[in-house]
């Protein structure tokens, strides 16, 4: 199972470049503003140095007042400049993040279904939640901080150089050791913090699952098991936290021990220069104060670099989704639809053995075909081939003479709808949950569709179609969600419907009522229904029995009963006829001529 691609470093760099270029003027403006703010920030220590010099030279109170007022001015200037710099940066970040996440959603929605299923929901879900928000906070908070800190540090060290080049050189003394330990730390930090986050999520998950399954825990007396399970999670989280603590222990100790080194060097060099008379006392004092000032941005820079690194990695995963080649646009749907024809279709998942061994099937427009058979016979696989989600390894699936996989994907989905027992209720109102199937449908039509599928509960909702569904709002049960899915189908009014156990979550009585109501509404549509309840087969025009990847029988319910083959045995056993052995005696494949028009 191969996962979704991850963008390489070059691609990520180019994407970052594009983000910056798109907003070139803002980027330049905010760099200039930040630099100006940082320069204003340099003024107070320098002015303090000047004060010291002037006082030492015997200056009066008036001079001190003037210089102190200058400090006030510098502080105000710094505050204003950094305000506008931040605001510009903030707006830039918001724009970039919005762009990013919209692009991600567009790419996600473009993903071919087969890819989504192959990679599983987990990877994509992580990218959509963790990675998108990590990139978001990186662009919004981390990058600006890094920009500010870098500009500040550059100017602080630059200022020390301006005071005297030798003082500047002395100020760099602590940097090599900080650089070495930072490299060491960064190489280990990201995986360690990710592991810590994962361990924390695991513990929360252990607690939530236990709460979710509280009744099961009580019924099966699993309390001790669950406690033991949760305790291992507590232990793992502790181990993960100790690992990150060990990293911090080395990193913080080394970095903090490096901070006094440049101060010491500047004081010693300053003492020498003072002695030779090349600098004033004020300059040396200002240099030490600048170094003091440098600690804060340096600290922040070091703390955020790890985040930036993680943001970069997340961005690579976010961009990776866009690297999946989209489904190629295909041909138009044949007018009027035409027959659904399967010829010699074989299919296997990945490199596994064939699941379908040469399926031949003809479904006339407007026909209702039921597919029955034991689990694992390949019914769902056949449904996917018919819907064009997968292409057969050999053979063909066509509608009106066009291969279904060649049709335009969007068009195909609208015309050939596949409803499985897997249902999903989208966050939003009941209307939102219906409208995407038929954007122009009136409220009346929506209510009618809900009534058709027996969703009586919908009439009792407090806010009608505006009732919010999903997490944190009204949660639908499995049966209700399934009815919602069927109501969508009624609204979408596709040319061909493939129902893969689409009523399995309903209780038997409701299921049958719903299926009949559906049939009435969908009269004239081609319906292929896969079902474990044989009522469905009984109500269909024809029944196909799929066993071991082959169609072993096909014909109308009555024909197949009369033929006395596997279906007849199944039907009898399903009715619990007392003397039946209930074993599907299928040694003699019974093939009935195609009776598509036999109604």
């Amino acid at each position: 199972m191969t996962g979704l691609p991850v963008a390489d470093r070059g691609t990520v760099r180019r994407a970052v470049g594009r983000l910056l270029r798109r907003d070139r003027r803002t980027v330049v403006l905010l760099l200039v503003l930040h630099a100006a703010a940082a320069i204003a920030r340099l003024a107070p220590p320098w002015l303090l140095g000047v004060i010291i010099d002037r006082v030492a030279a015997g200056a009066g109170v008036a001079t001190v007042d003037r210089l102190a007022l200058a400090i006030v001015g510098a502080v105000v200037a710094q505050a204003l400049l950094s305000r506008y710099a931040q605001y510009a940066g903030h707006r830039f970040g918001e724009r970039a993040v919005a762009q990013l996440r919209e692009e991600f959603v567009r790419s996600t929605l473009r993903l071919p279904v087969s890819v989504v299923e192959r990679v599983g929901a987990g990877d994509l879900a992580t990218r959509s939640s963790v990675d998108v928000s990590t990139v978001g906070s990186t662009v919004r908070d981390v990058v600006p901080t890094i920009v500010i800190c870098t500009v500040q540090l550059a100017l602080l060290f630059g200022a020390i150089f301006l005071l005297h080049p030798l003082l500047g050189l002395a100020a760099l003394v602590g940097l090599p050791s900080i650089g070495v330990v930072t490299r060491w730390y960064l190489r280990r930090a990201s995986p360690a913090y990710l592991a810590e986050g994962a361990a924390a999520a695991d513990l929360t998950e252990a607690l939530t699952a236990t709460a979710d399954g509280a009744r099961t825990v009580e019924a099966l007396r699993l309390a001790d098991d669950r406690i033991a399970h949760g305790t291992t999670r507590i232990d793992r989280l502790w181990q993960a936290r100790r690992a990150t603590l060990a990293l911090r222990t080395v990193f913080f100790t080394a970095v903090e021990a490096s901070y006094p080194l440049p101060v010491a060097a500047v004081l010693l060099v300053g003492g020498y220069l003072l002695h030779t008379g090349t600098v004033a006392l004020g300059a040396v004092v200002a240099a030490t104060l600048y170094l003091q000032q440098a600690i804060e941005p340096l600290d922040r820079l070091l703390q955020w670099t790890e985040q930036a690194q993680r943001g970069f990695a997340s961005y690579a995963r976010v961009l990776g989704v866009g690297l999946v080649p989209p489904e190629p646009p295909g041909g138009a749907f044949p007018p009027g639809g035409g027959r659904l024809v399967v010829r010699g279709a074989r299919f296997s998942y990945a490199d596994g053995p064939d699941v379908l061994h040469g399926i031949d099937l003809d479904v006339a427009p407007g026909e209702r075909l039921a597919v029955v058979g034991p689990s694992g016979a390949g019914k769902s696989t056949l449904a996917r081939l018919l819907a064009g989600i997968d292409a057969p390894r050999r053979g063909s699936v066509s509608v009106g003479g066009c291969f279904v996989t060649d049709l335009d994907p969007a068009e195909r989905r609208r015309r050939i709808a596949l409803v499985t027992q897997e249902h999903h209720v989208f966050i939003g109102s009941l209307r939102d949950n219906l409208a995407f199937a038929a954007p122009d449908a009136s409220d009346e039509r929506m209510r009618a569709a809900l009534a058709t599928v027996g969703a009586d509960w919908s009439a009792a909702l407090p806010d009608g179609l505006d009732t919010l569904l999903g997490d944190g709002a009204r949660q639908l049960g499995a049966a209700e969600a399934q009815q919602l899915a069927l109501a969508r189908l009624v609204l979408a009014d596709p040319h061909t419907l493939i129902l893969d156990e689409a009523t399995a979550a309903l209780d038997p009585t409701t299921a049958r009522r719903t299926e009949r109501a559906l049939a009435a509404v969908l009269a004239g549509r081609t319906v292929i229904a896969i079902a474990h309840r044989l009522n469905t087969a009984h109500d269909a025009d024809r029944v196909a029995v799929l066993e071991g990847g082959r169609i072993t029988e096909i014909g109308s319910h009555h024909d197949l009963l009369r033929a006395g083959g596997a279906y007849a045995a199944l039907w009898r056993s399903w009715h619990a006829e007392p003397r039946d052995t209930a074993s599907g005696d299928t040694d003699r494949p019974h093939t009935v001529g195609r009776t598509g028009a036999d109604r």
Binding site: I51, I52, G60, V61, V64, V75, Y84, Q86, V97, E102, F104, R106, L109, R110, V116, S129, T204, A206, L207, A209, A214, R215, T216, A219, L222, A223, R226, H229, G230, I234, D235, R241, R248, F252, T253, E256, A257, Y259, P260, A264, L267, G271, L274, H275, G373, S375, R413, F426, I427, F436, A437, A485, E501, P508, H532, L534, N535, A576, R579, A582
Partner: protein, 604 residues
């Protein structure tokens, strides 16, 4: 001195209130907390050493042109820096241990509570609430303990700086000592406002992330019915809304940030001004002026710590309150006493007694020594010991309610061996009567772990149970068989597969009485027939009740009862009822009544 985590026994917390709970977390590790306080203090005080040393280096070394003195002071600066970094890391480690001990202890308590509280949790505390407690409240509560280390240190450091400043100039000392906290008090609320503005933004952002996850989760549905463009547009519209909201927050946030920069800066300027004038008049030396500048900068650290700490304290109290609420949740009243109540709480109010509560709740009546009949007076159903009974209910809700009564998940007048079920020890009831419901939870783990709910269940028994549930193909289809990891709720399996795994698990639990609610509703006819046949032999000689309307299952039962409008209206064998109870026939006949019945051979 790292703590021993996980705690074998987290102890009995004081649940009398959030503060008591927090204090209990401290009392569990008194020496570690003391060590944290000492290190926190030493480190905080140490922060003000550097400005002092620098001022001495300036005054005694640079200004005096005394190179040896300068060298000494510089050496002192380096040594102090090394010492400070060492103190800092020791403090950080100790405080991390203090917090981790508190977190692990709270987590252990919450874990024990959610594991033991039982069915009540699903109704009373949504799983989301447990997620909040587990995901953030435990952390917030532990965060409060930081106050015991750097918090104590901050107070001491403040006092030390006060003394030093006083020795330089009482006037300057007063200014700084009053000014720094005042600056904090002004800036603190500003930051809180920023937090408020951002929390709205974060909420919207969380909602947008949820939308994105929602789209990902629903991709297959969108693929089936269409609507991708609509979702892309809708998401983009919301994303733009969030961007606009972000602009608004940015406008406010940048002003607040500027203020937090300007206010301390202006205060520092004022102090420098005052100090410089005093230097002119010779009241203080140049070195002292530099030191004052440094002290103001260092004093900001403890003051911030205290402000931040008070903020954390407020949040931690709320979080601790939520933990306590969860820990004091009491189990459902199911009549009679709850056995094995290892409840960690103190001062939990006594359970209110319901209609079915036995008067002497303290001493339960012993459970019947051997398998005994269960009788439900509400419906009139009797489940005979050692037999396979089936109930066909017109209304599925009635069947669920019946199972709840027989399994004692509600207060009822059900009798077991002729005596009230609610009077028996609950532990024993749970051990001997199992209600296997449709939606019973499947925990993540390997398939073997999912199935094996009793220790010492061998693979042979598992294989047997899988066969009885006709679930061998589920295992065969999994890449690593029984060792394949299954996700929570077994979402990776189909509905029919899940149902059979649940059935196999219930069979493996080998309860004396097994109550199965609609065990085959999601499986195909072939499989259903096999299950009906094998279930009977798997449960031979033991009490089993099946609630279903499938003729396949009903046909295999010793006795079938028809539950109509809340009462058992007829009892007999399946064939018996099929002939003499037309309503039963209409209910279970899979040829719906509105169709002419299919005349095939041997139809009863």
């Amino acid at each position: 001195m790292p703590p021993q985590i996980p705690h074998p026994d987290p102890g009995s917390p004081n649940l009398g209130g959030p503060l008591r709970y927090l204090w209990w977390l401290v009392r569990c590790q008194p020496w570690r907390v003391l060590r944290g306080s000492l290190l926190g203090t030493a480190w905080m005080v140490g922060l003000s050493v550097r400005p002092y040393l620098v001022s001495r280096a300036v005054d005694d070394g640079l200004r005096a042109g005394d190179m040896p003195a300068l060298t000494v002071w510089v050496a002192a600066i380096v040594a102090a820096g090394l010492g400070l970094s060492w103190l800092g890391i020791l403090r950080h480690r100790t405080m991390t241990f203090v917090r981790e001990d508190a977190k692990a202890r709270s987590a252990a308590l919450v874990l024990r509570q959610v594991a033991r509280i039982g069915a009540v949790l699903r109704r009373r505390a949504a799983a989301g609430e447990v997620a909040t407690v587990g995901g953030s409240d435990i952390d917030w509560t532990a965060q409060v303990l930081t106050l015991t280390g750097p918090g104590v240190g901050a107070v001491v450091a403040y006092a030390v700086v006060a003394v030093v400043l006083w020795s330089i100039s009482p006037l300057l000392a007063l200014c700084v000592l009053v000014g720094v906290p005042a600056v904090g008090l002004v800036v603190g609320p500003l930051l809180r406002r920023l937090d408020g503005a951002e929390s709205v933004y974060r909420q919207h952002q969380g909602a947008l992330t949820a939308r994105c996850g929602d789209i990902v989760a629903g991709l297959r549905v969108l693929a089936g019915v269409g609507g991708r463009d609509l979702f892309a547009r809708r998401y983009a519209a919301r994303s733009q809304q969030l961007r606009a909201e972000g602009y608004r927050v940015g406008a406010v946030a940048s002003w607040i940030d500027a203020a937090t920069l300007a206010i301390p800066g202006l205060f520092l300027a004022a102090v420098v001004w005052l100090g410089a004038r005093m230097t002119v008049t010779g009241e203080i030396s140049v070195g002292e002026l530099v030191a004052v500048y440094g002290y103001v900068a260092t004093l900001i650290v403890p003051v911030w710590f205290l402000l931040e700490g008070s903020h954390q304290f407020i949040r931690g109290r709320v979080a601790a309150r939520r933990i306590i609420d969860l820990l004091t949740l009491t189990p459902d009243d199911v009549g009679g006493p709850r056995g094995g109540g290892q409840r960690p709480s103190r001062g939990v109010p006594g359970r209110a007694s319901g209609p079915g509560t036995v008067p002497d709740a303290r001493r339960p009546e012993p459970a019947p020594a051997r398998p005994a009949d269960l009788h439900d007076p509400v419906t009139g159903l009797t489940v005979h010991a050692g037999r396979l009974t089936a109930v066909a209910a017109d209304d599925p809700a009635d069947a669920v309610a019946l199972a709840d009564r027989l399994g004692r998940y509600v207060v009822s007048d059900v009798t077991w061996g002729g005596r009230p079920l609610s009077g028996r020890p609950l532990d024993e009831v749970r051990a001997r009567i199992l209600v296997a419901e449709q939606e019973s939870y499947i925990f993540a783990g390997t398939l073997r772990e999912v199935l094996r709910t009793r220790p010492g269940t061998g693979d042979e028994r598992i294989t047997e149970a899988l066969r009885a549930a006709s679930a061998e193909d589920v295992v065969d289809a999994l890449p690593a068989g029984l060792d394949t990891p299954v996700d929570a709720r077994a979402r990776m399996l189909s509905g029919g597969q899940r149902q059979r795994v649940r059935l196999a698990r219930a069979l493996l639990a080998e309860p004396e009485v097994l109550i199965l609610v609609d065990p085959t509703s999601a499986v195909d006819a072939h499989t259903e027939a096999r299950i009906a046949e094998r279930l009977r032999s798997a449960r031979a000689g033991r009490t089993t009740l099946v609630l279903a309307t499938s003729p396949l299952l009903l046909g295999r039962a010793d006795t079938v009862a028809h539950l109509r409008a809340g009462r058992i209206v007829s009892t007999g064998t399946h064939l018996d009822l099929f002939h003499r109870d037309p309503d039963y026939r209409a209910l279970v006949d899979r040829d719906s009544a509105d169709e002419p019945a299919e005349p095939y051979r041997g139809h009863p």
